[in-house]
């Protein structure tokens, strides 16, 4: 009985130690880039998700998975990617809150938006 308890105690202790040694594995901090980057997929003439809501400071990465080029252009033209061929990406970091409606300037029926809070 005592041995089993000791083993259990050691196990718990080890887990606690690894938690302190590797905080990254268990929690993302505000400085962690992978936590504040959001992915949007472009495929089949659409942006998905079509609407996302993110905190200020988020970087959004669009990746074109379609077999035709697309662009990411905000309605007011303030955000403008170059034409993205298949597998090319575009990133933008949203530093101000607001609703950013955007579309593909080559295929203007493709519309979506990013809500920044």
């Amino acid at each position: 009985m005592k041995t089993r308890t000791s083993i259990l105690a050691i196990a718990i202790l080890s887990a606690a130690v690894s938690l302190t040694i590797n905080p990254r594995t268990f929690a993302a901090t505000p400085d962690d880039k992978s936590a504040s980057e959001v992915a949007i997929k472009i495929d089949n003439f659409s942006f998905s998700p079509a609407t996302i809501t993110v905190p200020v400071g988020t970087t959004v990465r669009w990746t074109n998975r379609d077999d035709i080029p697309h662009t990411v252009v905000s309605d007011d033209n303030s955000i403008k990617s170059k034409p993205l061929d298949t597998d090319e990406t575009f990133t933008y970091t949203f530093t101000k809150p607001g609703t950013y409606s955007y579309f593909c300037s080559i295929h203007p029926k493709m519309t979506a938006k990013v809500v920044v809070q």
Binding site: D67, P108, K109
Partner: protein
């Protein structure tokens, strides 16, 4: 009285059953014949009489009508495209030129209705220019597609092809009594919108045709269809109605477009609308796929869905004879 209600897909029930032109052309027969054209029939209007021939077993062009003006429309070469739908757009473009060169009546010139390049890259335009040098006619008139004006608001397109044009590249010219108008409807596209001509171009167009005799045959060519083919996929032009209103008084108007990568035809009064196939890759029929992108087909079918358009004008006849033919 039954009127063509603007159907987007050819539908025998929507044909015009009145002889609006009083030229003796049986429009029911004409439209029926044009529907067969995709399966290898050949319609010729000569002296007001409609003749149809089957293309099977004949070399293309053997029955090409001899008229006063013959020209060819090609479209959507997308030079630079290399995905599964067609890894060899150079090969299929060459096949299109071979087809042009095999016409028994050599065309006076070629109209290219845009998407010349795939990514507006100089090398892509260079390749098309180079390949066109082996065509039987060196006279080529172009208008841009949305793929041709990607990087710099169309500046590099204009540097290359803009001589003699205005604004974003619109212009007109006359050949053998026919008035040709090249329009640009791929600039300043708005979110959620369709193709767009814009106020400046519309004003120019109104002035351009104002003093022409109403019996002058008109041919308009532009990339995105000037009729509402399928708005859900952006296959239409927002302000084309205004453009067409300036052309309403004319006895014969032919509108040649591209963009949709398939042949389609609609007749509305004195106006014949026609879209050409691509020389690069086919696209699905309206609504028959989730999106209008490149359509993969078995390799042995690809060239049956790509093609050129041969157009013939016989002086005195209202309608131009428009014939599509595939690359095989």
């Amino acid at each position: 009285m039954h009127r063509d209600n603007g159907s987007t897909n050819f539908n025998l029930n929507d044909e015009i059953s009145h002889d609006h032109n009083h030229d003796g052309i049986d429009r029911r027969g004409f439209l029926k014949c044009m529907a067969w054209a995709g399966t290898g029939a050949f319609c010729v209007i000569k002296g007001g009489v409609l003749n149809s021939y089957s293309l099977s077993g004949f070399p293309f062009g053997k029955h090409a009508p001899k008229g006063d003006l013959a020209f060819v429309q090609i479209s959507d070469s997308h030079m630079g495209f290399d995905k599964a739908a067609n890894p060899d757009v150079i090969g299929t473009f060459k096949a299109a030129i071979d087809k042009i060169n095999a016409l028994s009546v050599a065309p006076a010139f070629i109209l290219h209705t845009g998407d010349i390049s795939h990514l507006s890259k100089p090398g892509e335009f260079d390749t098309v220019d180079q390949l066109l040098k082996s065509a039987s006619t060196k006279d080529v008139f172009l208008v841009p597609g949305e793929h041709d004006v990607l990087n710099d608001d169309g500046k590099s397109y204009l540097e290359r092809y803009g001589k003699g044009t205005q604004g974003a590249g619109w212009y007109s010219f006359d050949k053998n009594g026919v008035h040709f108008i090249g329009l640009v409807n791929v600039m300043n596209l708005k979110a959620g919108g369709l193709g767009s001509l814009g106020g400046e171009q519309l004003e120019w167009l109104e002035k351009d045709v104002k003093h022409l005799s109403k019996s002058t045959p008109i041919v308009v060519f532009a990339h995105i269809p000037l009729w509402s083919v399928y708005p859900e996929w952006g296959w239409g032009t927002e302000d084309s109605a205004q453009a067409l209103s300036y052309l309403k008084p004319f006895g014969s108007v032919t509108v040649l477009n591209g963009h949709i990568h398939q042949t389609m035809q609609k007749v509305e009064g004195n106006v014949t609308f026609h879209t050409a196939a691509s020389t690069a890759f086919p696209q699905p029929k309206p609504g028959e796929a989730p999106s209008p992108g490149p359509m993969k087909v078995p390799a042995d079918q690809l060239r049956t869905l790509l093609g050129i358009t041969d157009v013939n004008y016989v002086r005195g006849q209202h309608a131009l004879a428009v014939l599509d033919s595939s690359l095989t």
